[in-house]
């Protein structure tokens, strides 16, 4: 365990720790472009040069490992000058098009320039021009002039996805990033290259030109794309989701996120969102006031025996919403508890992050005692309260329904909601807080990004109101409904 001094602070680190990581341990952030802790060391940007006593040359802190007695300076005048000079080199051929660059506001080059340089360019000659708007693949666009040639994206495709689509061609200041001939940047994780690109060279086709990053608010959340439950940050503005970014969690997704999950946010913004309750009269659905919808539901439940009531939870919904349904079952004495789940044909899956089970909370809903709807014996019911959506197969499992009354608590309109007699609009996971239990059994909290729109509210609130209206005292219902996540 070598002990070294970094900027006057003594620190003991694990053998083999690089200076850049050792500096982190004493709270010093060394600027860098090419270094990424999940990728091999490239050492090419030369931005992380630091001064080490008794070494006659500046050393690259991403490569050199800590040794006993080392005296390292990460912010001396000499080091600051080194950075300024490296930045000058990187910037001479850079287009400096920050005003139209999507990365502006979260660009390392821009940040370091503001921190370390703020100098006018000394180069008066013409810049090197390189390809612009290169279509690298279905989701990623490259601006080669902005590229600082750090090779992070190349190493990502070589080492993480092992698909190896990217490479450099040409030499010197004409070196450019591209794909191998005949290849496209088309792997299941391609948008991570955009995340790790320190500048605006790689941009996300789904996000580019959509919103300036400084408007975006950040909310920690969980991806609902599959059972892995990758930790994400929701970037949103004006009650709209603009993108997901991976949030670091070594035990779940490290610092990555698959493309499918990353683009799974769209239902939240979608025009199919239900904003007001709907009720069917004589087969004709129309919007009704929440109080009217609730009265219909209360009267239906009141006149139905518990054994004729079926409650359907959802593997897509949070533990809290499913728990509310479970507690309602306990209050009413209902024993028919099932859950619906999203099933897609030929689901994507791999041995890294992507699970074939496309439900964020199957483990959670099963732990609460709900049974899968698919495969259950035909269910006869008079009233059926359904959380979330239903697939066609699940609708069939709930047949016959001729005399039954279907009540759905759903966020989006779909083929399933057409069949419902009564619909309560619910908030999505982005509009409420809660937890999902991933395939590992890990209970992961997510926070509310923005307020529910219109009459939407978390399903648990609708269920709680139902309980109160059915005569269970408010405090009892509240207590029951909110007593933890099971």
């Amino acid at each position: 365990m070598p002990t070294l001094t970094i900027d006057g602070i003594q620190v003991t680190v694990e053998p083999g720790t690089t200076l850049i990581e050792a500096a982190k341990q004493v709270g010093k952030s060394v600027p860098h472009f090419c270094y990424h802790k999940k990728l091999s060391i490239a050492g090419n940007c030369r931005m992380c040069l630091v001064e080490v006593e008794k070494m006659n040359k500046p050393v690259v802190s991403c490569q050199v490992t800590a040794a006993e007695g080392m005296v390292v300076k990460t912010d001396s005048e000499k080091v600051k000058n080194l950075r300024k000079n490296v930045l000058e080199f990187i910037l001479i051929n850079h287009p400096i098009d920050c005003p139209v660059c999507d990365q502006a506001g979260e660009c390392k080059l821009q940040e370091y320039y503001m921190d370390h340089s703020i100098a006018d360019s000394q180069m008066t000659e013409a810049k090197v021009h390189k390809p612009k708007r290169v279509d690298l693949g279905p989701l990623v666009v490259l601006d080669d002039e902005r590229c600082v040639l750090c090779s992070r994206c190349i190493r990502f495709c070589d080492e993480i996805t092992k698909t190896g689509e990217l490479c450099f061609v040409n030499r010197g200041d004409h070196q450019t990033l591209t794909t191998f001939p005949g290849m496209k940047l088309d792997n299941l994780y391609s948008l991570n290259t955009v995340d790790i690109c320190p500048v605006g060279a790689l941009t996300n086709k789904d996000f580019r030109f959509a919103c300036r990053v400084w408007f975006l608010k950040e909310t920690p959340s969980i991806c609902t794309g599959c059972a892995t439950g990758c930790n994400i940050t929701i970037n949103h503005y004006d009650d709209k989701i603009y993108r997901y970014l991976p949030r670091e969690n070594e035990a779940v997704n490290q610092c990555w996120l698959c493309d499918e999950g990353r683009l799974s946010y769209k239902f939240v913004n979608d025009s199919s969102r239900l904003l007001r309750p709907k009720a069917k009269t004589n087969g004709q659905a129309s919007f009704v006031a929440p109080t009217v919808a609730m009265e219909v539901l209360v009267s239906q439940v009141e006149k139905t025996k518990p054994q004729d009531i079926v409650l359907v939870g959802s593997a897509l919904e949070s533990n809290e919403n499913n728990l509310a349904l479970k507690k309602l079952a306990d209050l009413l004495g209902v024993t028919h508890l099932y859950y619906s789940a999203r099933i897609v044909p030929n689901p994507s899956h791999d041995d890294f992050l992507i699970k074939a089970d496309k439900n964020p909370n199957r483990a959670g809903v099963e732990k609460l005692g709900f049974k899968p709807l698919l495969g259950a014996a035909p269910i006869h019911s008079k009233v059926c309260i359904i959380l979330g959506g239903l697939s066609e197969a699940e609708q069939k499992a709930l047949q016959p329904k001729a005399s039954g009354h279907w009540v759905m608590l759903a966020s989006n309109e779909g083929p399933d909601t057409q069949a419902a007699d009564l619909i309560f609009p619910t908030a999505t996971f982005a509009e409420q807080e809660g937890t999902f239990t991933n395939f590992q059994g890990r209970v992961q909290p997510f926070a509310k990004a923005f307020e529910p729109k219109g009459d939407t509210r978390p399903a648990s609130q609708w269920i709680e109101e139902l309980a109160v209206r059915l005569g269970f005292c408010h405090c009892e219902a509240s207590q029951l409904l909110r007593s933890g996540s099971g």
């Binding site: 500046p58 490296v86 010197g172 004409h174």
Partner: protein, 416 residues
Amino acid sequence: MEQRLTKNFKVKDSHRLEVSRAQGGYQSLAKLFQMKPEEVINQVKEAGLRGRGGAGFAAGLKWSFIPKNSGKPVYLTVNADESEPGTFKDRYILELDPHLLIEGIIAACYAIGAHVSYVYIRGEFYFPMQRLQAAIEEAYQAGLLGKNILNSGFDLEVYIHRGAGAYICGEETALLESIEGKRGHPRLKPPYPAIVGLFGCPTIINNVETIASVPYIIQNGVQAYRAVGTQKSPGTKLFCVSGHVVRPGNYERPLGYPLKNLIFEDCGGIRGGKKLKAVIPGGSSTPILDANDVETVLLDYESMEAHGSMLGSGGVIVLDDTTNMVDALGNLARFYAHESCGQCSPCREGTGWAAKILDRMLSGEGRPKDLELLRSIADNMAGKTICVLADSLSMPIWSYMKKFRGEFEAYANPNH
């Protein structure tokens, strides 16, 4: 002086095995196989053979870095990329005495425990490649390569790998990447190739001339090798003289030989009755010497260093007094900008920028600030990159501007 590396150059058909053998080729093998590998390494160490590729690192010491019993194969890679402008010595060895190189390869591989050797030849050297390939085939047929060489129990396979025309592939780790089929980008060090080299295995990379110097040491011993040269730079070296001399060409001379004698006696002086202006002594990247330096400098590592330059690869480029030094530097800057692999920011951007400034100065658009700017580009590149390509331009920038300041000032102030 006894010619060691070039003794067969003028012999007819010297590239053929029977001619080589008639001249004493492969005789060192009998002695070699009676020695233990460590003894070979020690003999080369004691002979003081220094790497002829440019850096002058002690060859025997390098060989001793190969870890014992690593459980991995060991490789010898012969660097025949010869990409430094002004250098054309290895090419002559390949063309005129390829068996001398093969003999050296056998000795070096035996010493370090390698059973496979790659000779990395620059793509442009097509004819030398053919000559070496033919020689390798002859050697296989004669039992000098392959299984159980001369009943010694020692096996060795030799392969040629042709480069595709990149200066940087003469840098030893870029060379390894290139053999592995990758882009020629120098590797971060450590680990050094002796520990993690070709295909991740311990590897020694030596220049053609270095390896070709080994048979003499095995055959004649340490004393004989040290009979010429200096204490710290023993033996002979090939000097490839080009530029404005009467008789350019390859000259094998003992280390410590006066540069002045090489130019004015051996090469017949400056052609066309012109005066000597400057000499690039060791390939294009080495700091330039002016006519005063040439009066006293000796062709060895120490004397060159004392005169602010380097022996380098032995590529001596002689410039007469008609040479425009700004033009000469501009030429070099364009070369290094073209050959920078593009990996490290300072070199990738700095070499190109320096070339643009020099081009602008040469077009009559120089500015007083240009000299300071060039100097700062050189300062900010040198020593801050993975390999020394950036330094290879920084050194000429510093030395040309220092020694020929007036010429640069004139271009920086075109209106004065």
